[in-house]
């Protein structure tokens, strides 16, 4: 991950302080837990908080210099609008609404992606199918799906979920496929040795062995889910009264409530950061990093 030329080693000082002459003590020394300070430094979130503050400061400075509040509001205006939106407005409700839709579409998309990638991995037909489908549908903008989704799902949530699935399915499937096909033959043979086939093989061998790529797919899918959700809420039948964060942004944009627009966007960013740093980083720490599959 960092300083790729040398593997991170602990400072010598600690070792020197605990010098012990005999081999018995050496054996004890051979494996001991890290100090709390070292663990803290490993918490990337703390370091990133600093970086994030820097970005926010940059925003504020640029916005103040630009002085076009209707186009690009300052950070404090945005925060005020955010606060306002949370206290008096419906921002949280909107976010909740969007999150529910997003999670639904995301879950369906991820499942389909897994199915497709496993099929592509297991059979030549599946492979051809996946390549055709991805090449065909992946470049299509959501607008292209409007007619069929209207026919199949009508107005409202179901159509938006459909668009979401379209947004997240293909990149996830592509990443899963790369992950699967990149597994070393030895690991695959080990799995086969235990008589694992079909779904058991996929679940026990393919998924963990391709976990870094799966995670990347999930990350990309998450981000594109948001993007598409917001776009979809604008294009698709939002019924009055309902509507998520995308609609919140659109409405405020049309009323030139720019600070509120940015408050909406900031909300998405904050959710994104939380998901990235709490969920995904946590998963990474517990999986690929611990397994030595990410360096």
């Amino acid at each position: 991950m960092e300083q790729s030329d040398t593997i991170a080693l602990a400072p010598a000082a600690q070792v020197l302080a605990q010098r012990a002459p005999g081999p018995v003590v050496v054996e004890v020394e051979a494996a001991r837990p890290l100090s709390p300070a070292e663990r803290l430094w490993n918490v990337a979130a703390l370091r990133k908080l600093l970086l994030l503050s820097l970005l926010l400061a940059l925003w504020q400075v640029y916005a103040v210099t630009l002085d076009k509040p209707l186009l690009f509001p300052t950070l404090d205006d945005t925060l005020a609008a955010l606060w306002n939106g949370i206290l008096h407005g419906e921002l949280l409700g909107r976010v909740g609404h969007s999150l529910r839709t997003l999670v639904t579409g995301y879950a369906i998309g991820a499942t389909l992606a897994a199915l497709l990638a496993v099929a592509a991995y297991s059979t030549r037909f599946g492979n051809d199918l996946m390549e055709i489908l991805t090449a065909t549908f992946n470049p299509l903008p959501p607008i292209a799906l409007l007619p069929v989704s209207l026919i199949w799902f009508g107005l409202g949530q179901a159509s938006i979920v459909f668009v979401l699935v379209h947004a997240v399915l293909w990149p996830m499937a592509l990443n899963a496929h790369t992950g699967f096909t990149g597994i070393t033959p030895t690991i695959r043979m080990v799995g086969r040795n235990y008589g694992l086939t079909g779904w058991r093989f996929a679940w026990r061998i393919l998924f963990p062995a391709a976990f870094p790529q799966l995670l990347t797919g999930l990350k990309i899918g998450w981000a594109f889910g948001w993007r598409s959700l917001i776009a979809a809420e604008l294009v698709y039948g939002v019924s009055s009264g309902s509507g998520g964060i995308g609609w919140f942004i659109y409405e405020n944009k049309n009323q030139l409530e720019t600070a509120s627009v940015f408050a909406g966007l900031l909300t998405i960013i904050l959710i994104g950061l939380a998901v990235e740093n709490l969920l995904f980083a946590g998963i990474e720490r517990r999986t690929v990093l611990r397994w030595g599959m990410k360096h």
Binding site: L71, G241, Q255
Partner: protein, 309 residues
């Protein structure tokens, strides 16, 4: 005075005056006449009123064009720093329905979803509120809002004509409303001219006060060009239709375009009509914070001589 003046129009027949200006190089002509020399006029096409306002605010364009709603919004938000230049046309908005049991506003029920370009914020949504206020009383203006859904015009038309979706109504503008009416099932339930008591402006042009103040000659030349374009359309409908088809590359038959241009309710004029009525209503419902002191408050003085409202 600037060397180049940048316009932005949107897609559709209602921006015909700008198309005529572009095709016939009217701005260049009037600028030369005003002694401004070789003024360059460029025209971009944008996708929405919101993009229009962004472009204007960022200084990417000098003249924005679009519906009444985005113009009023930016007028209110900028506290008069942005004002209307002139109107482009008066065009009605129809509420077309395919539900045979709906004959008036009061017949609309939960089964009738009404498509419009954007719920709450579009001029169509405002119009529906006006119709509701008229039918149910001023306080009940938002009674029909829950029936509305956001859809782009072509999608909405396809939806009601296909008869497969729960959308039965469409607050349409030309050419969609006329195309819809060719289908026997479609009837007009609401006509905006009835709601407002007469013809009203549909699209207009607006600009910043800064541009207006710093480029008085250019501004006047542009206004003159606009007037000429409007007059040209009034006199040469077929030629204007040809210009439109040439400029847009549209495959519609010329007869169809000509027919729309010659229709009674469609009229091209720079005179703003009933803009203040929209503004007052929007102010009452809270979607426009400022209240204009009359229509002249919304426009730059050069147009104040017309019989606007």
């Amino acid at each position: 005075e600037v060397k180049e003046v940048r316009f932005a129009k949107q897609y559709g027949l209602s921006y015909l005056p700008l198309i005529v200006m572009e095709q016939q190089k009217l701005v260049e002509k009037h600028a030369k006449a005003a002694g401004l020399g070789q003024l360059k006029a460029s025209y971009a096409t944008l996708g929405s009123g919101a993009a229009m306002n962004d472009a204007l605010l960022s200084g990417s364009i000098d003249y924005a064009s679009g519906g009444v709603a985005p113009m009023l919004t930016i007028w209110g938000k900028s506290r008069g720093e942005v004002r209307g230049v002139a109107a482009l046309d008066t065009i009605p908005i129809y509420l077309n329905s395919v539900n045979p049991s709906v004959k008036g506003v009061k017949d609309l029920s939960d089964k009738d979803k009404i498509a419009l370009p954007a719920v709450k914020v579009s001029i169509q949504a405002v119009l529906l509120q006006m119709a509701a206020a008229k039918a149910f009383g001023a306080n009940e203006y938002d009674r029909l809002d829950r029936l509305t859904v956001s859809m782009k015009h072509p999608d909405a038309m396809a939806a009601i004509l296909s008869g497969r979706s729960e959308v039965t109504g469409h607050l349409a503008s030309p050419p969609f409303m006329f195309q819809e009416l060719k289908d026997k099932r479609v009837r007009t339930v609401v006509n905006s001219y009835d709601v407002l008591g007469g013809p009203h402006t549909f699209d207009l042009v607006w600009a910043t006060k800064k541009f207006h103040d710093e480029n008085p000659k250019t501004y006047r030349a542009v206004l003159a060009a606009l007037d000429e374009a409007v007059a040209y359309i009034g006199k040469n409908k077929r030629a204007a239709a040809e210009l439109y088809l040439k400029a847009s590359g549209s495959k519609e038959p010329i007869s169809e375009v000509y027919e729309i241009l010659s229709r009674q309710p469609v009229h091209y004029t720079t005179t703003p009509l009933k803009v203040s009525a929209f503004a007052d209503f929007m102010n009452r419902t809270g979607s426009l914070k400022e209240k204009p002191k009359g229509w002249k408050d919304l426009f730059f003085p050069e147009i104040h001589g017309k019989k606007g409202s």
